[in-house]
Subunit: 252 residues, 2 copies
Amino acid sequence: MKVVLLGAGNLAYHLFRVFEASVGVEIVQVFNHRQEKLTDFADKVATTTLIAEIKEADFYLISVKDDAIAEVSSRLRPKNGIVLHTSGAIEINVLAEHHNFGVFYPLQSFSREKEVDFQQIPICIEANSEENLEKIRQLALQISASVHKISSEQRRISHVAAVFANNFSNFMFSTASEICEKHQIPFDILKPLIAETFQKIEKVSPKEAQTGPARRNDKETMAAHLKYLDEDQQKLYKTISEAILKSYGKEL
Amino acid sequence: MKVVLLGAGNLAYHLFRVFEASVGVEIVQVFNHRQEKLTDFADKVATTTLIAEIKEADFYLISVKDDAIAEVSSRLRPKNGIVLHTSGAIEINVLAEHHNFGVFYPLQSFSREKEVDFQQIPICIEANSEENLEKIRQLALQISASVHKISSEQRRISHVAAVFANNFSNFMFSTASEICEKHQIPFDILKPLIAETFQKIEKVSPKEAQTGPARRNDKETMAAHLKYLDEDQQKLYKTISEAILKSYGKEL
């Protein structure tokens, strides 16, 4: 399978690496409209800054910022290849001007410095036809054992869920570390507890794993905790505690 | 070192196991005021339901509910041993009627079903004298490589931080799973993302690891996300997003 990769961000970087290492896929070219973004790729693969020079391929993988997908897509003129984007938030129809199109969305948070194991990463796929879906599935299976057909709507919703699971949980750790810092407590002493939090939901659902003062409706402890928090942290503490209480059928 | 263990909850259960397995500590007796709570221990160690029958030991480890610590302590009459409690929330002076007393607080969330590796668990210790602190440190080092002297105030604050790091982060996973369930998306597809969240803060601080629409001040995505949430989830989403924006110096 021949792939042209369009984009040079974190995800494009990781996709390049994993496809290069796979047996069944060849990256034939990397496109970016800025030459300096292509330096990482230039010694490994053909590169271009011109849409007109893009080669024939089975897949055109557009991995650029959400608001640039439509424009990059509109300038592509593939003969038979399938045009794909890799975004969690953009619906499939932004590519509808093409004959063959779809979505190839790896549900993961990527950073340049950190290696990831694609075998474990869910690839959420969607296509304009059953035939194309099957081709995209074959592409995805080259790099991951976890390939899921989901609709544009479900993909957007999984993106919302991911904000809670990733961004918001990280902010809880961030707030914990702020509280520790302010009182000269090393944040590291919370690391085993954080590890346990993660390990627990491997075994039971997060709903069952919930513990703490709000879960127990322990008003005394909750009131005592507020004394140690600044105004913004208090607002967080109260809002989340109220949501926990409500979710377990209790009233503050 | 001889230890009498008072209590039979999750923590007492795990402390019994880890001390039994250690070379330098002998549990000489387990006390609980209810006979049926002692059945797990009865074939392994002397047990009693009577405070008056408690044996001589170097340490009396009170591992009962927070609001029962004062009462159990008041009925103890140790000759020379050190009276300890194991709570994150209760200050050391609840034990001040004794000659020798202190705190032995393992900073972890314990459940009966799940084994834990005590070597990694921070034991937060405090004592009424330098001499007793050293003895408690020796006891703690029998089971953990991570022993920390922290004050009652710091211990309470670390407990608040733990609520964010453990209870609140778990509630973020719980909310994510609720959103998935409602829309027939398997929660499992978020597991690798959750694992990445956790692995990332092993390498960089959570403050640096923060990503997502609120971190980028991406108003369009945040507005779009709200459509998929119920009223309670919207309140959470807004409050946490505002806190993230504020924390990174941006205004909604």
